[in-house]
């Protein structure tokens, strides 16, 4: 009995320690953004919003913010289109294409982004697309599409395919039957997939670092270059926004499905 109590206490202390380890660094970043001095202090000594005001006055950060939104939106559109159509096709497919497609889509996630970044840079320089928004969007799509694709495959696998056949029996064409029979049942999945694609693009920085120029750099790229020079409290401010956006995305995705399902899609 006593042994059980000790074990339980140790178990609880163990996972609470890891919980702290997971959340503390992010809490530190948010807290340091309120420090009045130019130093990076945790816990802050004097609270102030001075760095937030500075953020909204600095054009480099603001234009990077716009760039991030543009790249994120582009990635979301391309990745969601590719991912949803391919997952739908895979579900209809009984041939070998699907068996080739799944690993081909997955592999880019396992290759270190630095190697992908190098190969993309070399490629886009040759294609004359270097430092364009298009090149960053395409690179991010390579990472975002697998998420959409695997989310949609799991959604389609739970879909009752007799509904599609029924729609066809009633005379609907391929597009009509998709729009009326399939779409209403999978729209939550598509939404969550698109949201994840957007977040992936917003937060990715290694490939973007290799592919962007001064006029196309995204938020994490500017943050990275700023940190390489010195510890900049402005990075805390920007990071706080990025963390906030992720929290909002998780809450929205959880409302559309649930946390348990979301966590399984991400693994």
């Amino acid at each position: 009995m006593h042994r059980e109590t000790v074990e339980n206490a140790a178990f609880r202390a163990g996972y609470l320690a890891i919980l702290t380890f997971m959340l503390l660094p992010l809490a530190v970043v948010v807290a340091t953004s309120f420090e009045a001095s130019g130093q990076l202090l945790f816990p802050p000594e004097n609270y102030s919003l001075v760095h937030y005001r500075a953020f909204f006055e600095e054009t480099r950060w603001l234009s990077a913010f716009d760039n991030s939104l543009l790249v994120g939106a582009g990635t979301t559109v391309v990745a969601t289109t590719l991912g949803v159509t391919a997952a739908f096709g895979h579900e209809l497919d009984d041939g070998r294409t699907g068996q080739v497609l799944a690993p081909l889509v997955l592999v880019p996630l396992l290759i270190p982004p630095i190697i992908l970044g190098i190969s993309m840079r070399v490629y886009f320089v040759r294609a004359g697309l270097n430092a364009s928004f298009l090149s960053i969007i395409l690179a991010h799509t390579l990472w975002a599409t697998p998420l959409v694709y695997f989310v949609m495959r799991s959604v389609f696998s739970r879909f009752d395919w007799q509904l599609l056949d029924a729609a066809k029996d009633l005379g609907a064409g391929p597009l009509q039957s998709f729009a009326y029979a399939v779409l209403p049942n999978v729209k939550h999945g598509i939404f969550v997939g698109a949201l994840l694609a957007f977040i992936v693009s917003l937060q990715e920085f290694v490939m973007a670092l290799f592919l962007s120029s001064h006029s196309t750099e995204t938020i994490p790229v500017v943050a990275w270059t700023a940190l390489r020079q010195s510890l900049d409290p402005m990075v805390s401010v920007v990071s706080t926004f990025l963390i906030l956006i992720s929290i909002i995305a998780i809450v929205v995705a959880t409302l559309a499905t649930n946390l348990e399902w979301l966590s399984k899609q991400l693994s």
Binding site: I18, M22, L82, A86, L101, V206, F210, L242
Partner: protein, 306 residues
Amino acid sequence: MSGTHSPLPAPVARVWEPLRKRSRSKRALLLMAPLLVFELLLFVAPFLILLRISLTSGSTDLRYAAGTWSLDGYAEVFTSGVLLDAIVYSFKLGLIATAITVSIAVFYAYAIWRAEGALKSALLFSVILPLLTTLVVKTYAFRPLLSPTGTVNDVLLSLNLVSEPIQFVPGTIGVIVGQVYIVLPYAVLAIYSVLSTMDWGIVEAARDLGASRPRSVLEIVVPQAMPGIIVATVISFAWSVGAYAAPGLLASQRVPFAIEVEKRLLSNLQWEIATAYAVVMLLLMVASIAVLTVTLNYFGGEFEYA
């Protein structure tokens, strides 16, 4: 309309059904084609070009001499002490970070699996939030935490556990902590997704038969979670060997492969060396991941459930 389920006369159905199936698989192909073309153009083609450039000779005024064939890039990779050191450092980092990450991940995934209600949500949230946060923010956070004047050292000093502040950051300990933090969420979710399909009754049965809690976990839970553990190991290893953000912000002098290759490509403009280096590194990683997977499969083999 092409697809109809109305009962057809048998002879008509014999001709019609295969046709209907064929048009269905053609449509499937058509739907998969865009992604297939995208992967070929944006993933396979860039790699072929990378491979081709790694086989050119260097050029003093350009990034590489187009059209030439040479093994100079590879020769440089295997003779340069700096590049070889970076490879060794990267693999050490990969192994240490993976060992720590996977051990913590098994424990945490188990805790999430056993938790219920609000606690379970909190634990899952603590994994998903860092997962969806940029690498820059995640690694940057360890600067105020682990630096000699940072929070952790303040605590250690005030508890009289150390007399002098320890320099975790910049330094290799800081890099490892940062890298574990980066890959832990992926590892936890990979293991948790396998555990969540597992039957708790088996563990209870083992307990009823007298197994202690640690023993029941080691002998029942870990073997069953092996498919997830393998995925977690592969992901942790692959990303830690190729780590860029954590060493970039937290390392002192020792430089891993990713930083070195970036320097060759962007600062020195030695494309044939940078690309050859990337190719060598990728091959080494693929080989070690294959060995790792086979080894783990061997240990997990007899308990294969998933």
